[in-house]
């Protein structure tokens, strides 16, 4: 209510969009760390800015963790996050690789800040999650969950 008084609708929409975007990213971090925030509870919050599809994609990862190989999903996220920037952060990469080699870090203590820009390869990811997995299979599984969620939403919209 206070925000509505302070900002006009466009500004409020922009603020919310930015924060919910970060909130979705933060939820991704929670998935990596294995904090098990239930996706059913997060659903409404993650699409507060109206970007239902982005929310649905993050929720697909969360459902994939619940239903299948959680470590593989985490590994996939770690790899994608680590390679999401074009520029390599060399000091961060050196730090993280050293920790991985010494087995002084695991996915529970990872954050986006630690991962991003490190450009890990798959063998590093496997070391981090403690096992090897098939990324393509995991990706296909997540995409299938995403399609399923989208179909459900469409059905609900039609019936409403």
């Amino acid at each position: 209510m206070l925000l509505k008084l302070c900002y006009d609708d466009e500004e409020l929409q922009a603020i919310m969009a930015l924060n919910i975007e970060y909130a979705r990213l933060a939820y991704g971090e929670q998935i990596v760390r294995g904090t098990n925030l239930p996706p059913t509870e997060m659903e409404e919050f993650l699409c507060m800015d109206g970007d239902v599809d982005a929310a649905r994609q993050w929720l697909s990862f969360a459902y994939a963790v619940e239903d299948g190989d959680a470590d593989a999903v985490r590994g996939l996220l770690i790899y994608m996050c680590s390679n999401s920037t074009d520029k390599v952060d060399r000091s961060k990469r050196a730090w993280l690789l050293e920790k991985i080699d010494q087995k002084a870090i695991d996915f529970r203590s990872l954050t986006m800040e630690k991962i991003v820009g490190t450009h890990l390869n798959w063998s590093h990811v496997f070391q981090l999650v403690g096992k090897e997995f098939n990324p393509t299979r995991e990706k296909d599984r997540i995409k299938a969950i995403h399609q399923q969620l989208a179909a459900q939403d469409n059905l609900e919209r039609e019936t409403a």
Binding site: Y22, T111, K114
Partner: protein, 213 residues
């Protein structure tokens, strides 16, 4: 690597990232990976207490995020994150350098005052000893300077209305007191013209006074 992972060539991996890259868009914005930086206070606190801080920091949140109840899913900022960020972010490393320099110049001052309450026994005793010594030295200085710059007897003698003779007693002691005005009871004029008067020393009176008896 297991057998069914042999498809993980560079191109496959790139395609995988391309499919989901939009989810990580906030990470790509800004000069650094994040658009949000730690506050000056957080950097200062980190520099001062890096050994004592718990390994968990909360990423700075805007009011609107708090309003929406986003604390539960806020990106976590661990001490390691903050350390890495401060080292690699040009903007934050400059702030940290400035704070370090400011801290060095102010450290003796802070050490001294913090020693009173929070330091160990030895430091506290030292701080109190320094303070007591300084107080004694200051007092000695004041007492030493005062007689030469302010002599009440000299000041009394320069007055027009001081009666030396009347205050002379048999034992030879002289008690000098200013006379009060008999008419008005107001003695404010008694000491009014100090600056205009030539000081008269006690010795100046000694001969004539004694001769009177």
């Amino acid at each position: 690597m297991s057998e069914d992972n042999n498809f993980l060539n560079e191109q496959e991996s790139k395609n995988l990232i391309k499919e989901f890259i939009h989810l990580f868009e906030p990470l790509k914005r800004g000069k650094q990976n994040y658009t949000q930086h730690p506050s000056k206070d957080q950097i200062e606190e980190y520099l001062n207490n890096s050994n004592a801080m718990p390994d968990l920091w909360q990423r700075p949140q805007t009011d609107s995020a708090n309003w929406m109840g986003a604390e539960d899913v806020a990106l976590e900022w661990t001490l390691t994150d903050l350390s890495l960020h401060v080292q690699t972010c040009a903007q934050c490393s400059k702030v940290a350098d400035k704070l370090r320099k400011a801290d060095k110049s102010a450290s003796w001052f802070q050490d001294y005052f913090s020693a009173f309450g929070f330091a160990g026994y030895r430091k506290r005793v030292l701080a109190w000893t320094y303070t007591a010594s300084a107080a004694v030295a200051l007092m000695a200085l004041v007492l030493n300077v005062m007689p030469s710059s302010f002599n009440p007897i000299d000041h009394a003698l320069v007055s027009d209305n001081v009666s030396v003779v009347d205050n002379f007693d048999v034992s030879g002691n002289i008690t000098l007191q200013p006379e009060t005005s008999t008419t008005t009871g107001d003695n404010s004029s008694t000491f009014a013209n100090f600056a205009d008067q030539k000081p008269i020393r006690l010795n100046d009176f000694r001969g004539p006074i004694i001769n009177q008896f």
